[in-house]
Amino acid sequence: MNSRLINWFKFSSPATYYPLAGRLVPLFSVIALVLIGVGLYMSFFIAPTDYKQGEGYRIIFVHVPAAWMSMFIYVVMAVWSGLGLVFNTRLSAMMAKALAPTGAMFAFLALWTGAFWGKPMWGAWWVWDARLTSELILLFLYIGFIALQGAIDDPRRADRAGAILALVGVVNIPIIYFSVKWWNTLHQGASVSITKGSSMGQVMLWTMLIMTLGFWAYSIAVSLARVRSIILERERDTTWVSELPEVRG
């Protein structure tokens, strides 16, 4: 047998995943702190003043990473949900559950920072524009997922219902992404595109990417830390949990 092949199913066991997550949390926390620290410094001291929007454009350095993460986390959540439905692994649903609050937070922050950017630039905190509306729907999908899981007592049924909601809601992601193309929106088009590259200055682009990577590392650290609590709660009747030093101590 090829020894380089990793048995991924081994990690789908909560007993293996719990200590692995425990080792990864500090690692990703440090990565997040360093990247966000550098990103913040660049946001305020390196990135030049915009010729059109003055200092106000600096909101982009939290707005875009938050918006990207809100969509990315949803896709990851849907993938875990799909895996859970197909392979019937307990861990998948726990991961989806652990990601939802962080995703909801980023969706809220994308809307909040968007409002604080829209007010000075468009003259309105909120408009019923396709981009803003679809992002608001994303926030509602996250809240719906959390509420639905909380409302069903049986964890296996709660997981299945949540997974189906997460998978159905994933159609909203391309709608958010392409909304600025499909409809005539007040929201500006994509500044960074896969096909056309970037229309921004190099320094601004790098600052935004570093902040995004920092938010990404933050999301991994927080969701892995959260899933450890979920695993403990759900697996509390197992022998391996009762033998953990932190439980014994």
């Binding site: 926390s29 305020f44 003043t49 003055g54 200092e55 106000g56 600096r58 909101i59 939290v62 707005h63 938050a66 609050p101 962080t102 937070m105 809220f108 922050l109 909040w112 920072t113 604080f116 950017w117 007010k119 000075p120 933050y218 650290a221 927080v222 830390a225 959260r226 450890r228 609590s229 403990l232 709660e233 509390r236 949990v241 009762s242 932190e246 439980v247 014994r248 101590g249």
Partner: protein, 56 residues
């Protein structure tokens, strides 16, 4: 650049700090809440485990 000038952000102070401030608040609060939850769960789970051992 002076501090007041920095905070003024060319007239966009409210909007820039309103965005960065609330983002920072949330991203500091969330790990604290996750940590508190872990402590509460650990307490509850170890109590259950101890109770079971006493029963045995």
């Amino acid at each position: 650049m002076s501090l007041s000038e920095f905070l003024y952000m060319g007239g966009y102070g409210l909007y820039v700090w309103g965005s960065f401030g609330v983002t920072a608040l949330f991203m500091i609060m969330e790990p604290i809440l996750v940590h508190r939850r872990r402590r509460a769960v650990l307490q509850r789970v170890s109590r259950i485990v101890r109770m079971k051992e006493v029963e045995r």
